[in-house]
Structure formats: C-alpha cells, structure tokens
Symmetry: C2
Subunit: 390 residues, 2 copies
C-alpha cells in the first residue's frame, strides 16, 4: 500500500511488546507474571454492580464534558486534597487511562527529532508513544535510587542538546520496581529548569506503597512549576479496563488538552467515570487501598521467597516498597530465547529487551507479583526455574 | 511556556467548536438542538443495568485485547453479516468511539503538509483531527446529492497535487443531513483509485435510515479495496458515552492499528464492550433500531413543520432520510452573531462556520432534531424565530 506514510513506519519500528498478544492467546493454565494488572480479587465487582444501579441514569450514557465529568472531577479533587497532590479544577483533566495522558503530552509537545529522555529500562508503551511522535530517545540508566542523574547529565552533554522532555516513572518504577530518591528528584527538577525541559511524571503505583516512607512526588516538589506534566490513573489502584485516569498540569495547557482530546476520542467514557465517582464519594477507596497494599506486600514477599528457593545465587532481583513488579537479572540467560520454553513450562513474563528501545537487558525479565496468589507464585517460579534448567 | 511546540499551535488554530463548552454550562431550560446526541429516551438504561449484572465479571475490568474484546468482536461480525458490510476478523478493530478511528487514520497516514479533502460543511472534530496531524484541508461543496464530484475534480486540478485522503460522511451527513448518491459514490471510488488517495468512509448514522431506499456504502462498493478506511460507531445507534466504535479496513493495517492504539489508550474500555456484546448477542438491537428510526422520523417532521410555521420562506432547510440533523440556511442572518441572543431566548444550535475550516456558512446553522421531543422542538423553533426577530 504505497500511500502508507512515514508515520506508520515509525509505528512499525516502535518497541511494542509482541509477547503480550501472544500471551492473550495462551491457555488458562499459564501462571501469568507478564501483564501489569491488579489482582482479579482486587476488582470490587460487587460494589461496581451495586453502584451501577445508582450511577446508570440515562445521562450517564451521553457525551461527557471533554475535560471530564463534573462528578468525577469533584471526587478526584476531594481525593487529592487528602494527599500531597492537592490540586485545582483548572489543572485537572480526566483522560482515557494514563496512556492517553502520555499520548496527549506527545501531541502537544513532541515534534519529530525532539530529544526525549527515558529511563533504561522504561515502560514500553510510554517510550513507544514518544517514538510515534518522532522523538529521538535517550536512554539513561536506573539504579537502586532510580534514574541516575549523573548519567543523565553526561548523556545530555554528549548529545550536545537539551531534551524536550524527561519521561520518568519515579515511584515503584515499571518495570524495575525502583523508586527515585528525594535527593535525585530535587536534582532532576533543577536540571529540567536549567534545560527548560518538561518532566513527564508518570505515577500509576504511588498509592500502592506497602513498606517504607512516602517520598513527595515530582509534581508536589515542583510546586506548580509548569515544567511538570503529571500523569495519573485508576488502572492500578482500581481496574485497568475502566480506562480512566487524569492529567495534572499547568492551567494554561487545559484548553489545549481539551482541543487535543476532542480530536482523539471526544471524551472519556462516561459510565465508568460515574462508577468511579460513586466509588470515591461513597468512601470506598481508603479501605480498598488498605486491603490491596497488604495483599501486594504478601505477594512480593512470596515471590522473593520463591526466587530465593528456586534460583538462589544464580539470579538477582529488586526489592520494591510498593507497586506490582520485580526486575530479575539472570546473568548468562537470554530471556528472549528462554521465553518459548517458559511458556511451554507454563509461566509467562516479559523479557528485558521489551523495556529498552535499543534492546538492552537481554539477561533480565520483569515479573508481576500483583495478579497471582502466593501459591501460584511459588508454582510459577518453580516452572521458571525448570525452564532455565532446560 | 516557551517549550510549547508547533504542534500545539496547530491545535490552537483548529476549528474546535467553542460553543459546545459554553452550552455545557447553561441551565436546563435551554432547548438543545446543538449536540449530536441520541434521545435520552433512546438509551436502553434498564437493559444496560440488567446486562451489567451478567456482564460485570471480574475479568470485565481487566485490560482488553487492543484489537477489541473477543466477545464484542464476534457480536459485531454477527451484526455486520446481516448487512451489506459483512466483514472478517482481520479487517475489524474495536476503537474508543468513531473519533478514535479518525485519529488512528491520522496517526497512520497524515504527514504535515498532506492534502486532505473535506466536505464543506463537514464534521468539526473530523477536520480538526486532520489539522492536528498537519494536513492542509481542501474544502469541497456538498449539494442535495452529497459531495460535488465535479467540484472535487476541479479543486484537485487547481491544487496541482492529489489528496492523501478524502474524508466523507456519505450518509445523512453531519452537519447537512445530505446523502451521497450512488452514482457519485462510484465516481468517488474511481477518482480515489486514479489518484491513489485513501477514502475515509465515516458513517455513524447509516443504520438510522427512516425513509427512502438504502444506498450501498463506499466500503461495500469498493469490495475490499484497501483505499477505503471505514469508521463506524455505537455512539448514535446506542449511546455516545460508551465510547465504542470500530474500524473496518485492509487487513495489512491491523498490526499498525494495534501498535498505534497501544500508544494512544492501550485498549478500549472493557465493561462497555461487554455491555454492548451482551446487548447485541441477546438480540436487542433490531427492535431498538426500529423504535429509534420511527422516533427520529417523527422528530424530523416535527422540526420541519415548526420551521415552516415559524420561518416560512425566510429560511431553507434540508430533508434528510435518516440521521440526526437539519441544515438551515437563513439568508441575511449571521448565525454567530445570533447565537447569544438565541441562548438568551432559550434555544441552542451550532452556527454554520463551526463546520468549515475556512469559516464559510455565516448564514447557516445546524439543528439536531434527534434528542428533543416534538413539543420541545416546536418550542425551540419558536424561540429561534423570536431571537431572529430580535
């Protein structure tokens, strides 16, 4: 089809995780450590059904306001007022999941050839979005304290130009589970100001801390600086299929976000906005989060125990204080080569190179501990060891 | 904010309908002819509530497959098999409303500077999407038989280059209500083949024919030609707040659509996909459509009678055989100037220039007859006449 444009080539070249669609076709016996979904048990289906009976008025199926349904907007403002991220209506735009927040950023800010910094490893679809707008990606490493700021400075110096944007998942990072330290957060904001770079502060997991001390977000540390564009979502704390999230950014951007969103999907689906608004205003969230945090802590510990039992010193893994993921290094093992054997053994994961635009991390993989019960976690890790043993 | 890119400027310059958000803030006493929503009475809320109890299993809130939930995909294939648009799984991709189908087209095909033909008048957000990808728009007039093909040929000759895409709403067009004749459909396909232009066949209203004979769609007339990219939606036949539609296009494009959609919103919200799948597979749609068609026929006639009674020979209006809209010419009246007076008199519409990227149609307006009862239609048109009389 010779009318296909250059833009489509960019998409073909992007780092979409092809193992996901492969997985969606697998049998139900697979232990699934691959997708970053909340536990099935964590979805409050009974409450949703009950709320639907109240929330499903005929106007709940009409077009929503593009910036979000007033009921949900108010409920989110109320929710955030109890956190370090209290905000105002003109900074808040409801989106179709966090992913649309990233897409909106790309549409507003990224032009072909722009330099965009991403963590290495990073969230596949986040870097793919930047690529879809023609960005050149600059991968900067992550260690136990998150993005390595010294490496960032050196990489930008080598690039000979400052980045248009710096894309970070500062808390319980996807895929590594690591958290950017307070000191590095402050340095990152300082550098962004010096370079006049935007920071995309993507934080889907921040409310799922099950250990350790809270660290203020980049959004709150920047105190209203328009350089910070914060992307948030209900996908991980409530349910991803709802496709509802929000953006918190400079008020001057809201009219642009509304214009852009009108050309993307008109508005976010309204029944689910109303369901979430009812869930929040009926006060269900605090208890829901308490239960989920404890659940995920137990599962992380179960996965770490199983890795210790099965792989011992032949592997290393992270120790996140929240979120969904462990990042596992398996020195000497090519995790892409291993993948079919692991599927055959009955366990699924995401190979490391899927999280790097340049295909780094051949001997690493991401495991999601959130969506699997401790018993199945032990079984899945045993299967993983069997696949490695060949 | 000096990091704001050129792309944002395109958005600022796009023809977003600012009157919509103004309207969303008005009191409930306004007769609303502005939004293109189905009648509130047409939304099968009771059935949705009943189906939700069945459809809301815990897996109904997880991520959906990016190409669409298998249950909905099968239900749509079954639905289409009863129409002139029978299709296959590899041509079908579920989208977050028809609007996302247009956005996907832009992301795949439109590069800055590309020529895109639009009808004049056309659907505001459709042309805005093309503008957001940097298209240069070529407006071609519409008459009683739809897009004027002679004018299209002449305009392309004058432009000195062939269009990348031709964007049409062939049936009960938004905003004019007009339908592209069979002969012109065939000529349009012929021209697209000669020019190697894509045709965006956007047909939200085709199933809402309440008079006259069905005309085969561009999609079906082209018999699988990859030049036709068809955009469809449940917004008008069921409810717009669901944000569920589909694209039917060449199978080679499906992997690109999936990659692109993953960087836009990951997947379409799943609870509403399941609701629609259940609605279709339980066989509710045929009766639903029968009732809606009769309802909309009555409302069109009520609006035409009211216009005749109130405005007589000082106005002209279209006579659509389906869909939602009348297009009204008011020679000598500036409908943008009239707008605040009309709102003050208690009636809302969309002024003509909102449907033209170059601001044509100063003395025309669009009225939606679908969402208002016949009594209120008569009242609304009376208020419109009062506003015109000053």
């Amino acid at each position: 089809m010779d009318t296909l444009s250059g833009r489509a080539d960019l998409l073909v070249g992007s780092v979409i995780d092809s193992s996901t669609s492969l997985l969606q076709q697998q049998s139900h016996d697979i232990v699934r450590f691959a997708m970053g979904s909340p536990a099935a048990e964590a979805v409050p289906v009974a409450i949703f059904e009950e709320l639907a009976a109240k929330a499903y008025t005929s106007d709940a199926f009409d077009y929503a306001a593009t910036e979000g349904d007033p009921q949900l907007r108010q409920a989110v403002l109320d929710l955030l007022s109890t956190t370090g991220e209290a905000t105002t209506p003109e900074r808040l735009t409801i989106t179709s999941g966090g992913m649309q927040g990233l897409d909106l950023f790309g549409k507003l800010f990224i032009d072909p050839g722009d330099l965009v910094v991403v963590e290495s490893p990073t969230y596949t679809n986040g870097s793919a979005t930047a690529l879809a707008y023609g960005a050149e990606l600059l991968e900067v490493g992550v260690d136990g304290d998150g993005l390595i700021i010294d490496e960032l400075e050196a990489a930008v110096a080598r690039a000979g130009r400052t980045p248009k944007a710096i894309y970070v998942i500062p808390t319980f990072q996807n895929p590594s589970g690591r958290t950017l330290s307070l000191q590095r957060r402050l340095r990152l904001i300082e550098l962004a100001r010096r370079w006049r770079s935007m920071i995309i502060d993507d934080d889907p997991y921040g409310m799922l801390r099950f250990e350790g001390e809270n660290i203020p977000s980049l959004l709150s540390l920047a105190e209203g600086d328009p350089l910070v564009f914060a992307v948030r979502t209900f996908s991980k704390i409530l349910a991803p299929g709802l496709r509802v999230g929000w953006v918190d950014c400079a008020p001057e951007l809201q009219p642009l976000l509304i214009s852009a969103k009108q050309t993307m999907d008109t508005c976010t689906n309204l029944p689910n906005q109303r369901l979430i608004a009812a869930f929040l205003s009926d006060g269900h969230l605090p208890e829901h989060l308490t239960v989920q945090r404890e659940r995920y802590r137990e599962r992380k510990l179960a996965m770490q125990r199983a890795l210790q039992d099965q792989l011992g010193t032949s592997a290393n893994w992270t120790d996140p204080e929240g979120g969904f993921f462990l990042w596992v290094d398996l020195p000497g093992v090519d995790t892409q080569v291993l993948f079919p054997a692991a599927l055959a053994a009955g366990v699924a994961y995401i190979p490391g190179p899927a999280f790097s635009p340049s295909g780094r991390f051949a001997d690493a993989l991401r495991l999601c501990f959130a969506s699997t019960t401790p018993d199945r976690i032990a079984e899945g890790v045993t299967r993983l060891r069997r696949a490695i043993d060949g």
